[in-house]
Amino acid sequence: MSKAQYAIEAEGLTKVFGDNKALDNLSIKVPKGSIYGVLGPNGAGKSTMINILATLLKPDAGQATIFGYDVLEQPQIVRQLIGVTGQFASVDETMSAVENLVIFGQLLGLTTKEAHKKATKLLEDFGLTEAAKRPLKKFSGGMRRRLDLAASLLASPPLIFLDEPTTGLDPRTRTQMWHTIRKLVADGSTVLLTTQYLDEADQLADRIAIIDRGTVVAEDTPDGLKNSIGNETLILTVKDADQTEAAEKIAERITKTDVKIINTRQIIVPIADSGLAIDLLIALRKAKIGVKEFKIERPTLDEVFLSITGKKPKTEAKENENDN
């Protein structure tokens, strides 16, 4: 059983709430030891999927296994293999961070002493030591989120579900969270995370499933997804604003594509073959058009998302946007 090839294998999951199909025949396969990103807009069914895989919710149809164990037939085994950090904090507000972790640890079978030790270690790892004894009511959103994740790691589970782990975190805390997630995988866990942020999926995930209206509409590596919608683009800035139009004409002649002027000195050129970029630069020099800057950009996941779902995704806080 434990020789299962995948950490998660779900087939045909369907869940209906009233007349609202939250999941519609969703299938997904998550390889062991990877970070798997599930990307989708609000209401796509991300949380519903996690709840079913984490045995919190029963599907109306379909089946799923975690490391080969069926979520419906062997839920108690599945629970021993997973850690869940839900979209909304699942810790006890009236108790302190230590008290929370110790109770969860004991429930997981640790002795009081072991639970204290593990709690102290985790609080340290997550930078919560100072606040350990304070009641959670005084915790910030980010602290709560970190405590929540810490609570999911008490048993060092081989599979960890993270439902929008960074929503509402400031850029610095988000980067820390990314670091933590990468470390989990380096230590041998498998992580399934959902996000509405494309660059988060791009940065973290080994594979990405884009889900929309309860079903998987695309699944690939981040690069694969980007390649699937086409070509690279060249963004070119000329020195002299008067020459922008001339540059556009030349670019159109050379690449035989539709070149756009995006501001007074910038044009954007789709290129199928990077050799053309060199031809273009040579042509521009011959025409005595000074080039201030140029860069080749791959399509962003935003464009992938838009072209697949027809919706614009949430955009990320600028601090984290690193395009080179």
């Binding site: 059983m1 108690q76 699942s90």
Partner: protein, 269 residues
């Protein structure tokens, strides 16, 4: 890329043993106690009711019903004991409802623990509440001059009986807590059920003084049997048929409502 992956244990079991279940229940009870310690004002009603009720009923009805206060105390103290504990057990359902709305119950449901542990643990912690009610009411009785002729055994056995009964009855409200949407609806419905049960009993007045329909109800009312058992223990220190009826009735309640509550809890998304 070579990735190391965690080994998956092969000896995993899909059920929780009785021993583990008990251990987890105790841990959950400990959690309940921590919460009470953090938030002691939730015990306010528990502290106030026995005191107010004892004073109120004793001085208001004592003369009219039993001639004088001293002879009313053996009647009223058991009545207030049982009534306060049963009313106090509503709080179990209310708090469970509040608790289950919080995210932490989602975590409990995702842990490999017995499904009954969070419920049973919460109910177990509430034994503290009943113990406080019983102690305070007894104390009030003694201050006002109650003289339990059943001796120490009678007092202890009566206290224990009331606590056990209260715990068993709290399963009814635990069930209501799991099926109802808001904690105020739990309070409302519970009160409607409880008012006739506690007042249409032998708690405050001798059953003989009631009109015949009410009398018939008061006589079969299980609450009357519990109160009679407590009176007998306090007055004579003996265990009679009422005691056994109280125990059988209480266990029946657990047998019916614990599975119902568990089922409803499991189903809850």
């Amino acid at each position: 890329m070579t990735t190391k992956t965690m080994a998956i244990p092969t000896n995993l079991k899909n059920h929780t043993s009785v021993k583990e279940t008990l251990r987890q229940t105790l841990i959950m009870a400990k959690r309940g106690l921590i919460k009470i310690r953090r938030n002691p004002e939730q015990l306010a009603d528990v502290l106030i009711q026995p005191i107010i009720f004892t004073l109120l009923f004793t001085f208001l009805f004592g003369g009219a019903i039993a001639g004088d206060i001293a002879s009313y105390l053996p009647i009223i103290i058991p009545g207030i004991l049982v009534q306060s504990v049963i009313t106090g057990s509503i709080a179990t359902g209310v708090q469970l409802r509040d608790d289950m709305d919080k995210g932490v119950f989602n975590r409990f449901r995702s842990l490999p623990i017995a499904r009954i542990a969070p419920l049973a643990g919460a109910l177990l912690a509430d034994v503290l509440r009943y113990a406080i009610i019983v102690t305070l009411t007894m104390l009030m009785g003694f201050i006002l001059g109650m003289n339990p002729t059943g001796g120490l055994f009678g007092v202890l056995a009566a206290s224990l009986l009331v606590i056990v009964v209260g715990w068993c009855i709290s399963w009814i409200f635990a069930f209501m807590g799991t099926i109802m949407r808001t904690s105020s609806s739990v309070t409302g419905v519970s009160m409607i059920v409880l008012m006739p049960l506690t007042f249409l009993s032998n708690a405050f007045v001798p059953v003989d003084t009631l009109p015949s329909i009410l009398k018939a109800f008061a006589e079969i009312n299980p609450v009357s049997h519990i109160i009679s058992a407590v009176r007998e223990l306090l007055a004579a220190g003996t265990i009679g048929t009422d005691f056994w009826w109280a125990i059988v009735g209480s266990l029946t309640i657990v047998a019916i409502f614990a599975p119902l509550a568990l089922h409803a809890y499991k189903k809850k998304a």
